[in-house]
């Protein structure tokens, strides 16, 4: 079975009748890169939030299996410790908590997750070394480690720190929600190289974007097009190029003719 299986996923805005996800089916395994493309408002961030356990949505139908386990039964922290990661489109500022402390707490929470509840905090020197290496990979100035996470960071800086967290937590499946937006061309190259280095046989990725820009750097195995809460087409990397050339309007026309 694929590592992540999404079946007929429906979700509403919490405590309302407004349905945003209208039946999503998707399968993804470690070692694979999938891209989800779709216009603004199509439900991409909602999908990523629902998968991570955001409290603002209710799942009304369908199921999500992560390594065979029912993901929807788990709290957001448990999903993370199980190996799921979300790089947020709009990361939150955490005032008064430094980057170094925040990531160390997260790393330690992951090390605590054992079935026997054992506590195995990482030793500070080893942690510092790992953090500095990851910061170097993403070309982040080391002095940033002692700043409050995302507090007053530029849009592009926030995205780099999302990927930094991904590098430190080493998830099995990472969802990258518009990680390319807010990055200038150099930053996009650096972040993409970072992502490429991290994705491998032990990690799969779901790259969410509404431009194909990032896909020039990180080549997807599969591309899915999300419109109005549904995946309307799936294909290979060439689908992203087709979309670039013809735009979403023609894709949606394609829906009826293809009968997808």
């Amino acid at each position: 079975m694929p590592d992540l299986v999404i079946r007929n996923l429906h979700a509403n805005i919490a405590d309302s009748d407004t349905e945003i996800l209208k039946g999503i089916d998707l399968e993804l395994s470690k070692g694979e890169i999938h891209a989800i493309m779709g216009p603004n408002g199509s439900g991409k961030s909602t999908l990523s939030h629902v998968l991570m356990g955001h409290p603002g949505y209710d799942v009304t139908a369908g199921e999500v299996l992560f390594e065979g386990q029912n993901l929807l039964d788990l709290g957001a922290d448990e999903r993370s410790r199980a190996g799921l990661f979300l790089s947020f489109q709009y990361p939150f500022a955490v005032p008064g908590v430094t980057v170094a402390n925040f990531i160390r707490m997260a790393v330690n929470a992951h090390r605590k997750g054992g079935p026997d509840g054992t506590d195995d905090p990482i030793r500070i020197p080893a942690y510092r070394k790992q953090l500095m290496e990851a910061m170097e990979l993403l070309e982040i100035d080391k002095s940033m480690a002692s700043r409050s996470l995302n507090d007053g960071f530029s849009g592009g800086e926030k995205k780099r720190f999302e990927i930094l967290q991904m590098a430190m937590l080493k998830p099995k499946i990472a969802i990258l929600d518009e990680t390319d937006s807010g990055l200038d061309i150099d930053a996009l190259r650096i972040v993409s190289e970072g992502i490429n280095r991290l994705i491998g046989p032990d990690m799969g990725a779901l790259i969410i974007t509404h431009y194909q820009r990032i896909l020039d750097y990180v080549t997807p195995d599969h591309v899915h097009i999300l419109m109005d809460g549904r995946i309307v087409r799936s294909g290979g990397a060439e689908l992203a190029h087709e979309l670039e050339a013809s735009g979403y309007a023609n894709i949606s026309q394609g829906v009826s003719s293809d009968g997808v």
Partner: protein, 406 residues
């Protein structure tokens, strides 16, 4: 007793007689009720309770001097001889009022007057406390430490503090109000921060959960002088603490950074002023509060800018985190501005932990309670990081966080 002191006590006593215990009709007491409190039930005495105090967070390590007051009297006075050699005077204010009237008389009752009930009562009844005098140009690195403790249940403690910094001098004084036993504390602190001097003043109020705590702290800051004030309130059942800064010299700076945690059915009332009476002065006040259970806090802060105090830069904010739906925080900022060309800003908020922020932390694997604790600590850290001295900052962080049962 010396004549001048007797005279001042008499003036204060007359005021104390004349003034009623404040009621809700008084604007400053609208949110803090004293109904049902029997102040007369607390026993005043000049007696010091023997023994050593417990629960101080900044008493360890090296100090330039220490004073401990238990119940009505001072039980410990210490001063580093090398500091004495520089002309510094530090010790029991009762003793020094007799021995060094030249230092006490010019200050006592001149900065905090007797026009308010609790200050008047203190002026009449104060039994002991501490005095620090630093001569012009003298810089003392190590902190002075003053501890107040009610050692006998039901005791009243009327403490008094004077800090008087000469021109261009520097000092740090830490004042701790220890948990001790339930009782009634009412104190007055008068701070003279002379031209170009620098005072760091740290007040830790961790009185017993059943104690009444009333205090009036007031500073006058001279030309190009700086007061760096840190206040941490975690204790007491109810009461009122006045923290007032008056900027009397051009180019002076008064910074007040405060944190408080209130739990159970306790009530904390902070009343602050930033009084700009001179041009180009800076005042900057930031309080962060965490409220649990059915606790309540009231912060009333006024920025007053006198005519002619042009170039004033004044800021005040009070942000509160409500960890229980039954907790409540009231913030009442106020501006009274009688001059143009000033910059005055204020802000106040109260709300629960942001569920989206909590989700963000949880999405990194951090369990819910730990996430909440991190958010609370980060929230307080924002105010604590304004305190330049790392040792003090760390101690205050520990003091507030141990009150949060997450």
């Amino acid at each position: 007793m010396t004549a001048w002191l007797e005279e001042r006590r008499r003036t204060a006593a007359e005021q104390n007689e004349a003034l009623a215990i404040p009621s809700g009709a008084d604007e400053h007491w609208r949110f803090t009720s004293l109904r049902g409190i029997d102040f007369a039930a607390y026993a005043s005495s000049e007696q010091a309770a023997a023994g050593s105090p417990e629960g101080a967070i900044l008493a360890d390590g090296d100090h330039a001097g220490r004073v401990v007051m238990r119940d009505g009297g001072v039980v410990l006075e210490q001063i580093d001889p090398s500091v004495t050699a520089q002309g510094v005077v530090f010790g029991s204010i009762k003793r020094l009022a007799a021995e060094r009237g030249d230092l006490v008389e010019p200050v006592l009752g001149t900065i905090v007057g007797y026009d308010e009930k609790f200050a008047a009562e203190n002026g009449a009844l104060w039994t002991d406390g501490a005095l620090l005098h630093v001569p012009a140009g003298v810089k003392v690195e190590l902190p002075f430490h003053v501890a107040y403790e009610i050692a006998t249940e039901g005791a009243a403690q009327h403490w008094r503090l004077i800090i008087s910094l000469g021109e261009g001098s520097e000092a740090t004084l830490v004042e701790e109000h220890l948990p001790g036993r339930p009782g009634y504390a009412n104190g007055v602190a008068e701070l003279v921060v002379a031209d170009r001097s620098h005072l760091t003043y740290v007040v830790v109020q961790d009185r017993h959960d059943q104690s009444l705590h009333f205090a009036a702290h007031r500073a006058e800051i001279g030309h190009d002088a700086t007061l760096e004030w840190a206040a941490c309130s975690t204790g007491s059942k109810t009461g009122k603490t006045r923290m007032e800064t008056r900027l009397i010299g051009a180019g002076s700076t008064g910074r007040l950074s405060g944190v408080f945690v209130v739990d159970q059915k306790r009530h904390l009332d902070l009343d602050t002023t930033q009084e700009h009476d001179a041009p180009n002065a800076i005042s900057d006040l930031a309080f962060k509060g965490v409220l649990l259970d059915q606790a309540r806090s009231v912060w009333r802060g006024v920025i007053r800018v006198a005519e002619g105090a042009h170039g004033t830069d004044a800021y005040q904010e009070n942000r509160n985190l409500l960890l229980s739906p039954n907790a409540r925080a009231d913030s009442i900022p106020g501006l009274e501005i009688d001059t143009n060309d000033v910059r005055c800003t204020h802000g106040a908020t109260a709300g629960p932990v942001d569920p989206m922020l909590k989700f963000y932390l949880r999405s990194r694997g951090i369990p819910p309670l730990e996430a909440e604790r991190m958010i609370v600590e980060g929230f307080l850290e924002d105010a604590l990081e304004r305190i330049p001295n790392e040792r003090i900052r760390t101690a205050l962080t520990t003091a507030v966080m141990r009150r949060i049962p997450l």
